[in-house]
Amino acid sequence: MNAIIISAIWGVVMMFSGIVSKSNILVRNIATAGLLILLAGIVMDMSGNPLFDINTRNMLVFDNFGLLFNAIAVGCTLVYFLLSAPDMEKVGNNLADYFALIFFVLCGVAIASSFNTLLMLFLGIEIISIPLYILTGSDKRNLKSNEAALKYFLMGSFSTGLMLMGITLIYGAKGSFDMEVIALGTGPLTPMVGAGLLLLMFSMAFKVSAAPFHFWTPDVYDGAPTVFTSFMATIVKVAAFIAFIRLFKGSFESMHTQWQLIIAIIAAATLVIGNITAIFQQSVKRMLAYSSIAQAGFMMFALVALNGLAVQGILYYAAAYSLATIGVFAILIKLKDYTYEGYNGLGKNHPVLAATNTIFLLSLSGIPATAGFMAKFYMLSAAVQNGQVFWLVILGVICAAISVYYYFRVIQAMYFKDGEKQDVQTSLLFRWKLIGLAAFLIFLGVFPEWLINKLWYFI
């Protein structure tokens, strides 16, 4: 509960901070402070003494899973702020409002990771989506940004429609929105539940940009201001995943076998399309959009397997993927030229950026000793343990190999190709932050259970 309330309040605080103070630095610091408070609140929640004692009428349930994810999400946001917040000023001149919107999104994330009824799911998803429509379009004079916003909005609300229809059908069949009630009863899917389940699945698949509902992703990520792309592609996406797995594990686990095939097909399609399409991209930004689809394909493994490892794994994957992607974007933003050529000679001219970027990319492509490997490892092992979908596992590893192709193109550009020295100003502090992030990724990669244990430490 802390997370929801604090983030909502801090959203309001940010709104006013924009009015009272003109200095961006101040606003930025307030935002960062807010995140720290938020983090503290979540930790208190996890350690079992929430600030507010509110009877949620069982509409929200704050279990370790949700709280830990909340912590991860906020932590990633913190990293994101530290690395990329200064670049938001370039987007437009109402910085405070952007921060406010981000806090509202975090509120939505908190809801989406702790909902216990479809109503809260719906609200959470909407609270996440609506600010994102705005952020996408926030670069107002840039036609691409506008276009992206409109596309995102239209398709987003379309998917909302699907979701509502799904919820309705399930309500019709089960007579309640409460997940415990819905989870009752096993046996074959009745038509209404089945239809509703599928519609819900589609709308969630849309939110996590899984094929064939991914089409908005490349355009929106490409069109949105890069800073916000970074946010959307990481925290928001994994939040949607958490909601996805929470919903389906909480409500439909008993009927898992009956929809496993569909979700497996979706996962496979996502993997293939994401990876294959990414190969040919010329713009790194767009490539990252497709790579995020590909990564989503891997996260889908958690839903396909839906076992203990999957739950741990999705949390770990969320952290690993978000951090690495944030890092890559943070460096991408600094560059003038978003194509692969933009990276040429980076290794010679900006060794630190190149080195850290390499680590982020290695992590994304799942090379051992980086967090990305253990993330993929958890997903694969979850799927293998489930045992139903070896074809998917094999496809997965092949796709992982394909993904190496486009990630390493960047590395090749940085180290093995020479480019004219471009003026990339980065503060020393920024570089140290990057190094810290890279080190943390390696730490996570070598000692993954440091994070996983958190699920059990707090009661």
Binding site: L119, F122, L123, E126, I130, Y133, I134, G137, K140, R141, L143, K144, N146, E147, A148, A149, L150, K151, F153, L154, S157, F158, T160, G161, L164, M165, I167, T168, L169, Y171, G172, G175, S176, F177, P218, D219, D222, G223
Partner: protein, 109 residues
Amino acid sequence: MKIEYYIFLSIALFCIGIAGVLTRRNAIIVFMCIELMLNSVNLLLVAFSKMHNVAQATVSPNAGIEGQLFVFFIMVVAAAEVSVGLAIIVMMFRNTHSIDINFLNRLKH
């Protein structure tokens, strides 16, 4: 009235909405079609709530009320969405004097 009639009715409306989204190029019309989809959902929800009310009237008089409340929230969200959506559309129109979604193809491949 039997429930399946309502199911079919609202599914029909829903699909008309989808068809509209598929066939029209005017962003606003598309948006309206989406609104239509939402409304079909509302209708179905109300129908279900009444149905459950009938079914479980003995259990509690308020059975099935959550359906109607959900409709209320949907309307809330829809209103919010409309405000944002129209804002975006207007912004779009300001920059390119058109709301034709087919012209939205600077981003592709």
